[in-house]
């Protein structure tokens, strides 16, 4: 029987990989995959804790997250298609509309 601490360590590792991937990679697909990775890290921890405490609520929450992530995935993919149609690029650095315009005075 693997103890719950190992699941925690694995979850934290997966989550950290997700954050680093999210920040360091420029391809929007990879960034999206990192987000999914983080979600699944959380799911892993939820399920492990559910088993540990013998409480099904956490599993319900994990299933909810999986369901929502699946719905998100369809919206995200549709967005990416539209984005690529308009900008011919999936480089995150290319999309910087929120940037502060420089004033030189």
């Amino acid at each position: 029987m693997i103890d719950v601490g190992s699941f925690f360590i694995l979850g934290i590792l997966l989550f950290s990989i997700g954050i680093v991937g999210m920040i360091s990679r420029r391809n929007i697909f990879v960034m999206y995959m990192s987000v999914e990775l983080m979600l699944n890290a959380i799911n892993l921890i939820l399920v492990a804790l559910s088993h540990h405490y013998e409480d099904l609520n956490a599993q319900v929450m994990a299933i909810m997250i999986i369901a929502i992530a699946a719905a998100e995935a369809s919206i995200f993919l549709a967005l990416f298609v539209m984005l690529f149609k308009n900008a011919r690029s999936l480089d995150a650095n290319f999309f910087e509309l929120l940037k502060q315009e420089k004033h030189h005075d």
Partner: protein, 627 residues
């Protein structure tokens, strides 16, 4: 204690006539055919109603002798501190109201003729009536706060009227001067009132309660209050050192000068001191100080008046000089004599100014007495009127000015302040000298030029005649015991006068001295000017007197110049160099800082995710540490 609406109407009629004229003249901006008659009706009707109301009130008062009150509304009520917009009529007020309403109305009639051709006829009467309303409020107020409103109103209207001919910059400057010097006085007055309020504010702030509670104030503070209030009087009543506005105030139309100098404004200071007699009676040192200020003002003004050439300026200085007498009297406790002199002065001074105005009108607005001369046969009536007024101001019996001035001089002598008495006596001599100099140069001494004269106006002559009756006979209402009377006016006024005993012999000697001094002045003037209007030299005093002792210049260099240097210093150094540069440095540094920080906002979503993660980490660290 009676309540009477009439008291309110005295003020309201002049005030609302002013307001109505204002509205009508606003309307006439769009519809230019308002006949002048409407303004005449309102401008003269307001004071006429006031005069009627005052007459009824005074008549009632003389019969019953009961103080009349009128409360319009409660102005302020802050937890026991109550200021009522209320009016009061007691003996002192009756004394003031009688001549203000009467002489004021006469001057209004005169002003109607004087200003008839002026395009700003309406504007003139709007302010003229407002002036009257302020003065009525000043004397009728039953608490110092209401009095202060009238006090300020008088100051404002004098400013408006002095710079009435605002197309000339000099007139505007004269108006500003009057206003600013009055503001300095008002500052003192307001500070005095504030001190009074601090000590007595919550035990009632009307004159009666103040009088009842005045002993609660420590004597040091009382002295300070008395001096501060007197500073207000210095400004309003043109005493040293705040007098320099009065001669310049001659820039206004002549009826304004008559109103300012005779019935209103300048008497306000004397009235105020007498109204606060309960305060000044227990601060005798301040009283002596007031008397000295009055004495020096009287003498200085008389000296300057000796060599002035503008007919109105001579009269202006003579007003200041007579006001000096009033302050000598009230300073040394002779309140009723002070008010008596205010009363007689109103008549002969109004007569002098209106006579001067009549001459000015007839001579096509010529004011230089050196360019007049030999007018005796050309305008005999005005000559007679001016002669009466001049005799009255010079203190020749039996004219009214004699009785009031003699009463004051006797009081000064018997109070044993011989320096003040000496100055007052000298001033009396100088007064008759410079007044007869004016009279002789204008009417008697030969003139080479033949002048074209306009005709005299009947209405003006009627007004002059009415006032001359006052200038001749009014002295008899306060006939002293020496002449077989018993000072009925002083008895009736019933003010807390200080009385000194004076033996019958010394009284007769004083009387003779007073008359001799006045006659000497007349004789000097006559011998020097009967053959021509050239001024004989006064030796070393000649230059300073002609230049008004350089007081204007001294003030200019002592106050105006340093003040303008100070403001230049503040603008150029403190504002531009210190404050502006500080602000500019701060803003430019801030801008430079933002130049670096706005690199954070680069629009790149990956960085935003990083910031968010850092934020979350910091929150967790904080929660961990604080646990």
């Amino acid at each position: 204690m009676i309540e009477s609406n009439l008291l309110g109407w005295v003020i309201a009629s002049v005030f609302f006539s002013s307001v109505f004229m204002m509205l009508i003249s606003l309307y006439s901006k769009y519809n230019n055919d308002i006949p002048q008659k409407i303004y005449t009706l309102l401008g003269l009707g307001g004071p006429a109603v006031s005069l009627l109301c005052s007459f009824l009130l005074i008549n009632d008062f003389l019969n019953t002798g009961t103080t009349v009150y009128y409360k319009a509304f409660t102005w302020l009520d802050i937890q026991g501190f109550v200021i009522n917009a209320s009016l009061m009529l007691d003996t002192l007020t009756v004394a003031m109201l009688s001549f203000i309403s009467f002489v004021g109305f006469i001057i209004h009639l005169y002003a109607h003729v004087y200003m008839k051709e002026d395009p700003s006829y309406a504007r003139f009467f709007i302010w003229f009536n407002l002036f009257m309303a302020s003065m009525f409020l000043l004397v009728l107020a039953d608490n110092p706060i209401m009095m202060f409103i009238g006090w300020e109103g008088v100051g404002l209207c004098s400013y408006l009227l002095v710079s009435f001919y605002f197309h000339s910059e000099d007139n505007v400057r004269a108006g500003n001067k009057a206003f600013i010097l009055n503001r300095i006085g008002d500052f003192g007055f307001l500070s005095g009132l504030s001190l009074l309020f601090i000590h007595l504010g919550f035990t009632g702030f009307d004159f009666a309660s103040l009088e009842a509670n005045i002993h609660l104030i420590p004597s040091d503070t009382l002295t300070l209050i008395a001096i501060l209030l007197f500073i207000g009087a210095m400004g309003k009543s043109a005493q040293i050192p705040l007098y320099i506005w009065l001669p310049d105030a001659m820039a206004g139309p002549t009826p304004v000068s008559a109103l300012i100098h005779a019935a209103t404004m300048v008497t306000a200071g004397v009235y105020m001191v007498v109204r606060f007699n309960f305060l000044y009676a227990i601060t005798e040192d301040v009283g002596v100080f007031i008397a000295y200020v009055g004495a020096f003002s009287a003498l200085l003004a008389a000296l300057i008046a000796m060599r002035q050439d503008d007919i109105k300026k001579i009269l202006a200085y003579s007003t200041m000089s007579q006001l000096g007498y009033m302050f000598m009297a009230v300073g040394l406790g002779a309140y009723s004599y002070g008010i008596f002199h205010v009363f007689t002065h109103a008549f002969f001074k109004a007569l002098l100014f209106m006579g001067a105005g009549a001459i000015i009108l007839i001579l096509h607005h010529e004011q230089d007495i050196k360019k007049m001369g030999a007018l005796k046969n050309k305008m005999p009536f005005i000559y007679a009127m001016m002669f009466i007024a001049t005799l009255s101001i010079s203190g020749i019996p039996p004219f009214s000015g004699f009785f009031s001035k003699d009463a004051i001089l006797n009081h000064l002598f018997s109070s044993e302040h011989y320096l003040i008495f000496g100055m007052a006596l000298l001033t009396a001599g100088l007064t008759s000298y410079y007044m007869f100099r004016l009279l002789i140069i204008v009417f008697i001494s030969p003139s080479s030029k033949d002048k074209h004269l306009l005709s005299e106006n009947k209405l003006i002559n009627v007004t002059l005649f009415t006032l001359s009756l006052g200038a001749v006979f009014l002295g008899f209402i306060n006939l002293p015991a020496f002449f077989g009377g018993n000072e009925n006016y002083s008895l009736w006024l019933n003010l807390p006068d200080t009385h000194f005993h004076l033996s019958h012999t010394s009284e007769s000697i004083l009387l003779v001295i007073n008359i001799i001094v006045a006659c000497t002045g007349i004789a000097f003037a006559f011998s020097q000017y009967k053959n021509g209007s050239k001024d004989p030299s006064l030796g070393f005093l000649d230059k300073p007197i002609k230049n008004k002792f350089y007081i204007d210049e001294i003030y200019h260099y002592c106050f105006v110049k340093p003040l303008s240097w100070l403001s230049i210093f503040i603008v150029k150094v403190i504002d531009e160099k210190i404050i502006d540069s500080f602000i500019h440095t701060l803003s430019s540094r801030y801008q430079r800082l933002s130049y670096y920080t706005d690199a954070i906002q680069n629009g790149n979503v990956r960085y935003y995710a990083l910031y968010m993660s850092i934020g979350i980490v910091i929150i967790f660290i904080y929660l961990g540490v604080s646990k």
